[in-house]
Every structure is written in C-alpha cells, then in structure tokens.
C-alpha cells in the first residue's frame, strides 16, 4: 500500500461558472425564467490534469498568475469537486490555502487557532496541546489576543503556517504562505518543511519564489492556463519557466526543453 501514490489525480478538469449578474437572487430568477440559458462566464481553470505524488515527496508548483494553481490545491483538498476525472487522496489533509486560519478576522488569533484545530476534527485536548507549539513557532505570542484583522500579512502567514504544520497532517498543501514571511521566518519554515518531509506523507507547495521551490521540492510541476506544461527535475523546470517568463511564449521555450 505504501508504494501507491499518496495523491493521485486522473484527468481532472474544473470549470468556474460565474454568473455575470452580481449576485444570484430570487427576483432575477423569476424575471429570467423561460429565457433559456442564463448569462454565465466559464473559466476553464483545470484542463485534464493528471499526476501522482508519492509517499515522502514534495511537489512544487509554478505558473503565472491565474494558471490554476490555487484551484488545483482546492481540488486536492476536496474543497471544490472536479467536473471530470478523479482525485484520490490517502490520509489526513491539512490545507493552508490562502492563509487557512481566519474563521473570522474579528476574532483573536488565539480563538482562530483553536477554531481551526477544532474544525479539522481534533479534540479540544489535542488542540490545546498544539496551541503552545503553534504560538512558539509563529513567535507572535504578544499578539495572540488581538483581533486578526490587526495583523500584518506576514503575521497572518506566520500563524497560518504554524497552524497547518502543527496539526500532524499526512498531507500538507501550502499555497504561497512562505512568500510573505520575513527572512528569519522563511528560513525557519523551510527548516520545518524539511523536518516534515520525513514524517508527513506528502507535500504540495505553490510558490512564486524559485529559490524556495529549488530548495524544498523534489519535483516541479509547471502549469499554464489550466494545463500541465511540464513536470520534472526542479532545475530543469525552473530554467524553462524562467525562460518563458522572459520570452512569454510557451512554444518557443518547449522546443528546446
């Protein structure tokens, strides 16, 4: 069982259907009844994505803004259902998507941390045990009783990262959480990810920082407009991707890939 992939995506496609009208409401539905198709805009955020993540592997994901990276993470986390295909995941997922904690920015950091733990289904005792470790790791003890809306974005991501990595997940999904921390915290979280590599089942990291990805991941996956362009050795993918960023043309880059 342990040599089968921890995360496995098979031909996964996902489309956002956004109604052009601001917010769906009943009066409008009545008015539009019988007029056929409502005006919806389709965004094909994932197109036939297929890949596996093996036990102990750290998969990095690169791609331009709007490439579908966050959507992919949501699909793996079971938050959005795919339109086509199938996603198989083995183990408990801790998703740190767009700064995962934050049940309510009006609530204090302490309340948010406890709630985040309880929401993942941990018992109160376990959450309280983890709380101390989380605060120590995030190093923002004196701000824990302040509402989270008063946090700087770095503090937000520090706490989010600390929560996600302290809930003993089998699978860790991290979406750009590393980029807003300062140099000291970046170093610390890289260290933490390396530690977790051994204990956690698998990790998927989305980042715009090539240095971070080069340092942490075993393998890189490059996405563009919902499609997987290439996957492979971090060095190789980063080279190709960097070239693409300069040239702005996929085909030109892929010729000598």
């Amino acid at each position: 069982m342990s040599d089968s992939p921890v995360i496995s995506l098979h031909d996964v496609s996902f489309t956002y259907r956004t109604q052009i009208s601001r917010k769906p409401n009943f009066m409008e539905a009545v008015r539009n009844a019988g007029r056929g198709q409502r005006s919806t805009k389709l965004v094909h955020a994932l197109k036939n994505v297929t890949f596996d993540v093996a036990q102990g592997e750290v998969l990095g994901i690169v791609g331009a803004n709007g490439a579908g990276k966050s959507t992919l993470m949501r699909a793996i986390g079971g938050i959005v259902p795919p339109d086509e295909g199938e996603i198989r995941v083995r183990g408990e997922i801790s998703a740190l998507l767009a700064l995962g904690v934050g049940f309510n920015p009006q609530l204090s950091g302490r309340e948010n941390v406890i709630l985040a733990g309880l929401a993942t289904g941990l018992s109160r005792e376990v959450v309280e045990e983890q709380y101390q470790a989380i605060v120590e790791f995030a190093e923002i003890e004196e701000f824990m009783d302040m509402p989270m809306r008063t946090y700087s974005s770095g503090m937000y991501s520090r706490l989010g990262f600390a929560v996600a990595t302290n809930m003993n997940p089998d699978i860790l999904l991290i979406d750009e959480a590393l980029s807003t921390g300062d140099a000291h915290f970046k170093e610390k979280s890289s260290q933490r990810i390396k530690e977790l590599k051994d204990s956690a089942g698998a990790m998927v990291i989305v980042s715009h920082s090539m240095a971070t990805l080069k340092e942490l991941s075993n393998r890189l996956l490059w996405m563009h407009k919902g499609e997987v362009i290439a996957t492979g050795e971090p060095e190789k993918i980063i080279d190709a991707y960097s070239k693409f960023l300069k040239v702005g043309n996929i085909n030109a880059v892929m010729e000598d890939f």
Partner: protein, 274 residues
C-alpha cells in the same frame, strides 16, 4: 483513502457525515461563544438588549389584541403572548443567522474542507443560547403573572427540544436558499411575521378551535402544535394528548429531514457558489 469525484448533486455518506459533525461539536460551541463575545451578547447589557426587542414586540401585540378584542382575552394572556413571542424570536433569529452562515463565510469555504453543516448548526446554537435569558424572564412572568410553578411545566422541556429540531431543519433550508437566492435573508423577516400570525401567538389554539368544526387544517403549519403545547403548558399548566405530541415531533422531524436533505444535496457546490 478519499476519492473526490465530479459533483453530481448527490448525498455524502450520511453516517460518516453525522460522525464528522459530532466530532466537531466542540467547534460549534466554541465558535458560538466567540461570536457571542464579538457581538457582546455575553454581557449583561447584551443580554438585556436581545430580550428587549421581543419584549417590545410582545408589548405592541398586547396592545393590539386588547384594542381588537375589546378586553376579552384568554386567561394569563400576557404569559401566553410572551411565551410565543420569545419562541418565534428564537426561530427568526436562528433562520436569519443561518441564512447568512454560508454566504458570509466565503473565504473559509473556499479555503478549508470541513462538513459545511457545522456553520448553520453553530448559528442555531448561538440563537438558542440567546434564548436562555429570555426564558428566565418568562419564568419570572409565569410565576408572578401566570399560574405559578408546577411539575406540569417540565413538559415544556421536550417541547422546546422539538422546537429546536425544527429550527435546525429550517436553518439548513435558509442557509442553502441564501446561497442561490441572495435575497432570501432580506425576505425572511416578512415571512416570519406572517408565520407568527398563522401560529397561536396572538391568539390561543382554543380560540381557533371555537371558530369552526373543522380545525385540523391549522396543523398544516408545523409550528402550530409545538406552540400550542408550549404556551398551553406554560400559561395554563395544561397537559396535552399524545397525538398532539406526535404531530409536533413529526412536523419538526420532517423539517429536519427536508432541511438536511436539501443542504447535503447541495453542499458540494457551495465552494463555487459563494
């Protein structure tokens, strides 16, 4: 091993889902407390404020009934009225909070995976906690203006449980409806107002019964029987026949099942709708 497949407006495994919710009961209570702190509902003034609005409502209704009925009112009418208004206030507040529970949690829902039902459940629980100080007032009114303490009053507890079950089901419905029709929350106060008038709050069930020989249609309103039992028990120390309890429980369970079904059927889609 978890498998995420295309959303086909289907049901999750009910037993597993229920276990997941049960596992998160601490979350429900904790979020409820935190939100109450936020809205200052846990302070004395907060509690007074939340009681004041239904009390004012009851005062207006009392005047209204006095004027319309020319002083002929049922015995212990004020206690009857307070009892009904407090319960209806609980149901409206709960329905309202539930309606916004999903649509106000957009970020949370698009970034974390958990059984969504805990969000409306939290709101019903918050509304229930908010009802408790009102019940204390009701008890004072019952003792000073009403028939006074008696063991019969204990029948109000299972009836309250039935009303709670109803509120949970209704909350699931409004939570789902508001995702698809954002004007649901805005329409709710009117809806609830009409529902109050159709329930034995401004009048007693006996008064309706005296109007015609065919009176069973009044139980089309699933809140009629629970409220009849509720205010009858508290204001008159009446006890009620089994069939009325069964009608009450049946209606509440039906609403719970309907609400749960609608919510679970649609839940998988919330992340792309909020």
């Amino acid at each position: 091993m978890r498998v995420f497949k295309p959303f086909k407006a289907g049901f999750p495994n009910f037993r597993i889902y229920l276990a997941q919710i049960w596992q998160r009961k601490a979350f429900i209570h904790e979020l409820s407390l935190a939100e109450r702190r936020l809205e200052h509902l846990d302070t004395v003034f907060g509690a007074i404020w939340t009681i004041l609005s239904p009390m004012l409502m009851a005062a207006i209704y009392y005047l209204l009934v006095m004027v319309l009925q020319g002083g002929h009112k049922p015995p212990n009418f004020l206690v009857h009225l307070l009892a009904g208004v407090f319960i209806f206030n609980f149901i409206s507040v709960s329905a309202m909070r539930c309606a916004r529970s999903i649509t106000n949690s957009g970020r949370l829902i698009t970034n974390a995976n958990f059984p969504r039902a805990i969000l409306p459940l939290t709101q019903t629980w918050t509304s229930f906690l908010q009802l408790l100080p009102a019940l204390a007032i009701l008890l004072v009114a019952q003792v000073t203006l009403g028939p006074g303490l008696s063991w019969t009053l204990l029948w109000a507890i299972p009836d309250l449980a039935i009303i709670f079950i109803f509120a949970v089901g209704f909350g699931f419905l409004t939570a789902t409806a508001n995702v698809y029709f954002r004007d649901t929350a805005a329409a709710l106060p009117y809806f609830n107002r009409v529902w109050t008038y159709a329930s034995p709050v401004l009048y007693t069930a006996d008064q309706v019964r005296n109007l015609s020989t065919h009176d069973s249609w009044m139980y089309v309103n699933p809140l009629f029987a629970p409220l009849e039992i509720w205010s009858g028990t508290i204001a008159q120390l009446q006890t009620f026949p089994l069939h009325l309890w069964l009608i009450s429980l049946g209606g509440a369970v039906l609403f719970l099942m309907l609400g749960t079904a609608v919510f679970l059927y649609r839940e998988g889609e919330f992340a792309v709708r909020v």
